[in-house]
Amino acid sequence: MSSTTRGERWTDAGDERRADTPVLSLRGVSKSYAGVVALTGVDLDVRAGEAVGLLGQNGAGKSTLVKIISGAEQPSAGSVEISGERVRLSSPAVARASGVHTIYQELSVVPQLTVAENVFLSDLPRRGPSVDWRELRRAARETLRDLGFEIDVTRRVRDLPLAQRQAIEIAKAVHSEAKIVLLDEPTAALPQPDAKKLFALLRRLKSEGVSIIYVSHRLDEVYDICDRITILRDGRQIATRPASSVHQDDAVRLMIGDKLVGGMLGQAASEKQPRINPRGAGFTAGAPALEVHALSDGALLENISLRVMPGEAVAVTGLVGSGQAELAACIFGGRPRSSGEVLVDGKPLAPGSPRRSIASGLGWLPEERKLQGLVLSMSVAENLTLASLRSVGMWGRLRRRLEQTLAETMAANLRIKTRGVAQRVGDLSGGNQQKVVFGKWLLARSRVLIVSEPTRGVDVGAKEEIYREMTAFLAGGGSMLVSSSEIDEALMCDRIYVLSRGRIVAELAHDDTDPDELVSFLR
C-alpha cells in the first residue's frame, strides 16, 4: 500500500521498523479554535492489533481528537506518526490513504447505491473502460463473507438495517487495507444484539492485526473491547492505562473530574452541594406539578416514571447518551413517545404537541438552543415574545409597543447584554442567548420548566447568572425538571433521578445523596 507516500512525509525514519513500533502515535497534540483550547498535549500510542478506548464527557476533547486522527482537522501543535513516520493528515482522504479509516456515527455510506458499489466505492474494478460488475459483486461478497456477514450485495444500502450498514463501512475499511479503524460512538443507535455482532467483528479485526480506536460514552462497551483506555477531561489527557487496571467506577470518576466530586468524596455528609432551590426541603404537599407515567419512546427510553412536586427542582442525570436529552423532549412533546402518559397539574398532555404543553404551563429550554430554542434571524424582543404571541397580540393585532415594553423589562431583569432588544439574537453570546430562551418561558408564564443542559456552551460568569435565574424561578413558585449530564448540576437539585441506558436506575434525595453513591450508578 502506498500509505505514507501520499501523506506528506516530513522526516524519513528509515527502514528500522521494529515490531513494537506503534501503528499510530500522537506526541503532544494540541488544538485550539480561535484562542479557545480544546485539546492540550495528548500523547497516544496505538499498537498493531490493539484496541484503545477513548473516554470523556461532552467537551472533554474526544471529538477534537477524533477529527485530528481522521484528518478532518490539523493539530495546532504536536505531531502524528504512522508506523514510525511523521505524517501530516491534511484531509480525510490523506488519512485514509495513510491507513486510518474513520467510521462516524453518521455513517458515510451512499444509501442509494448497492452494497457492492459502496464497498468498492473508491476503486471499482474495471474491465476496459467500463465497470466489471461481475467482479465487483464477487469481490464484495467475498469481503463481507470474510467478515462473517452474508449480505445480498446487489441490494441498495438504504434498505439495510443499521448494523449491516456498519458492516459495510467496516468492509470498506478492510478492503482499503486500513491499519487503524476509528469508531466514533458506533453503538449510539444500535440495538443490543447488533452491538454484540459489531463487537465480534471488531475482535476479528483485532486478531488480524488491525488497530482499533473506540470512542464511546458507554463504559461497559469500552471495557468489553478495549485493551487500554485513555480518559480525557477538559481537553487534557487524564490517564492512559490498561483497561484491566482501572475499575469502571474509577474511570467514571476520572471522566467527571475530581475538582468537584473528588473534593466532595469523603466529605462529611453535612457539607452538601448548595441547593439551587431556596425553598428548602419537604415538597410533599399537594398533587405533583409534573408527572410522567411509564413513558417509552420505542428506541431508548423504557418505562420512565417520575414526578415533580410544586416548587421542587428535580434532576434527571446520567452519563451522556443515557436518555436524559430524549426524555426532556418526549415530555415536552418535541419528540414522539410510543407509550406512557405525561400530566401537568394532574391533566394529561397530548403527545407531540408543544402547543398544548405550553398552554398547560410547561416550558422547555432545549439543549440545542440555536436549533430548537431561538430564531436566530429575529431580534431579542421577537424571540422573547415567541411563545406568548397570544397575549402580546389582540385579535391578531400585534401590539408592538407592548412587546417592546415587555421585552425591555425582561431583558433588564435577566440582565441580557444587548445593544437593545432590536438586536439580532444570533449576535449574542451563548449565555445571553440562553437567557433569552429563559425569558421566553417567563413571558409565556410557564409554571413548570424542563431545563436541558442549561449551562452547556456558556461561560463561567453567565453560568452563575443562569443558576440565579433558575433559583428566582423556583422562589417564585415554579417547578423545574433539570435534565443534565453534569453531576454537579444534578447535585444542586432537591431530588435526583439517575438514568442509565434509558431506564431510571436510582432516585436520590438531596439531603442523603452521597456523591460517591451517585457516581456508582453512572454507566
Binding site: L260, M378, R397, L398, G420
Partner: protein
C-alpha cells in the same frame, strides 16, 4: 457595551423611526439611481404617461410578488402562481359567459383559486413534498385545467362591470395601481403588525424553534399558500380585464417574474427575511429597467440577458457571498445617518466579555471545553 444609558435610548428611537428606510436603503438607492439613468437616457422617461405605463405593467407582477413573498418567507416557493392567474382569467371568462354577475364571478374564482392554494399547502405540509416540486406539479395541473375549461384558444369577456372593476381610472389613477397599492399596504401591515405575520417570519427563520414555541406551523404554512393563490387570482382578474379575455396562456412565466421581484426585493429563499413592500419595489425596479430598455429600443433578447444578470446580482447581494458586502454598505449608511459607530464594527457581538456563540459571519465556533466552578 459602548452605548449605554440615555445615549443608547436616543439611538434606539432614531433607529425605530429611520429603521425601515435604512433597511431598504440599498433598494431605494438603486431605484433612485435607475430613475436618474432613465431620465438621462430618454426625455420621455419622466413623463406621466410613461410612469402610468410602468405602474400598470408592474401591477400584475406586484400583486403576484406579494403572494410569492408570503410563501418565500416561510422558506417555501410557489411555482404555480402564473398558472393560477391563467386559470383565474379563464374561470372568470367562462363564468361570465354563462351569464353570472361580475361580483359572483369574482367570488367564485377567488374561491376556486383558494382551493388550489389549499392543495398546494396540503401537499407541502401534510404530504411532505418539497415546495418546489409540489407547486411545479400543480403548475402543470392548473395550466391543463385552465386549458380544458376554456375549451378553445380563449374566451372573450363582454361584462363591462367586470372590466370596469379591474381596469380603467378612478380620479386619474389607474385601478390596477390602486389595487396593487392596496394589496401591498394590507400585506405590509399584516407582516409587521399582526401575530400571523410574526409567526410566518418565525416559521421561515426556524420552523423547529417555532414549533417548539407553540406556533401553529402547519396551519400558517397552508395559509401562506392559500394567500399566494388568492392574490394570483386577483392578478388574473386584472389581466383578464385589461385584455378583455380569459386564456390559459395569460399567466405563463409570471411565476418567475414574481420570484425575481421578491428576491430582488431582498427576500431570502431560505425564509424568514424581507418584506412584501420590498418585493413590490423589487418588481417595480425590474419593470423600470425593462421600460428604460424599451424606450432605448433594446431588443427583447438582450433585455432577457440584462434581467438575468440583475437577478443573479440581487441574490448574490442578499443571500449569497455578497451579503457581507451589503452588511458593510448598510453599516456605511448607518454611520452616515447616525454618526454613531466607526465602520467595520457593525455586526460584532454586543458583548465584550462573553465569548460569542456565533461569529459575525455565521460560522459556529467549537464549544469551549467545560469549565467547572466550585460553588
Amino acid at each position: 457595551m459602548a452605548t449605554t444609558g440615555l445615549a443608547g435610548v436616543g439611538v434606539g428611537v432614531r433607529q425605530r423611526i429611520a429603521g425601515p428606510f435604512v433597511r431598504q436603503a440599498p433598494l431605494v438607492i438603486t431605484i433612485t439611481v435607475v430613475l436618474v439613468i432613465g431620465a438621462l437616457l430618454s426625455p420621455y422617461f419622466l413623463s406621466e404617461a410613461n410612469f402610468r405605463n410602468i405602474l400598470i405593467t408592474g401591477a400584475v407582477v406586484s400583486v403576484l410578488a406579494v403572494g410569492q413573498f408570503m410563501v418565500i418567507v416561510t422558506a417555501g416557493i410557489d411555482l404555480s402562481v402564473g398558472a393560477v392567474a391563467s386559470f383565474s382569467t379563464v374561470a372568470s371568462a367562462v363564468l361570465m359567459a354563462q351569464g353570472r354577475s361580475a361580483w359572483s364571478t369574482v367570488a367564485l374564482s377567488l374561491l376556486a383559486c383558494g382551493v388550489i392554494g389549499l392543495v398546494n399547502g396540503a401537499l407541502v405540509v401534510y404530504a411532505r413534498i418539497t415546495p418546489f416540486i409540489a407547486t411545479l406539479g400543480m403548475l402543470g395541473v392548473v395550466q391543463g385545467l385552465a386549458y380544458l375549461v376554456q375549451g378553445g384558444t380563449y374566451v372573450r369577456i363582454e361584462n363591462q362591470a367586470f372590466i370596469g372593476l379591474f381596469s380603467g381610472d378612478v380620479g386619474g389613477v389607474p385601478r390596477q395601481v390602486l389595487i396593487f397599492a392596496l394589496v401591498t399596504v394590507i400585506f405590509a401591515v399584516l407582516m409587521r403588525w399582526s401575530t400571523f405575520g410574526r409567526q410566518l417570519y418565525a416559521i421561515g427563520g426556524n420552523a423547529e424553534a417555532a414549533h417548539l414555541s407553540g406556533l401553529p406551523v402547519k396551519r400558517n404554512v397552508v395559509a401562506a399558500y392559500v394567500i399566494s393563490a388568492a392574490l394570483a387570482s386577483i392578478a388574473g382578474f386584472m389581466l383578464a380585464a385589461q385584455l378583455g379575455e380569459g386564456s390559459s396562456r395569460l399567466g405563463q412565466g409570471l411565476e418567475l417574474d414574481s420570484i425575481a421581484a421578491a428576491v430582488v426585493g431582498g427576500a431570502s429563499l431560505f425564509g424568514g427575511l424581507g418584506s412584501p413592500a420590498a418585493a413590490v419595489l423589487g418588481g417595480l425596479l425590474i419593470g423600470t429597467i425593462s421600460n428604460i430598455m424599451n424606450l432605448r429600443g433594446v431588443a427583447a433578447e438582450p433585455q432577457l440577458i440584462i434581467k438575468g444578470f440583475l437577478i443573479l446580482f440581487a441574490v448574490f447581494v442578499t443571500s449569497g457571498k455578497g451579503a457581507d458586502l451589503r452588511g458593510s454598505l448598510g453599516a456605511m449608511a448607518k454611520s452616515v445617518l447616525f454618526h454613531r459607530r466607526p465602520l467595520g464594527s457593525a455586526g460584532t457581538p454586543a458583548t465584550d466579555e462573553d465569548s460569542p456563540a456565533v461569529s459575525p459571519n455565521g460560522e459556529s465556533q467549537p464549544r469551549e471545553p467545560h469549565t467547572r466552578t466550585s460553588k
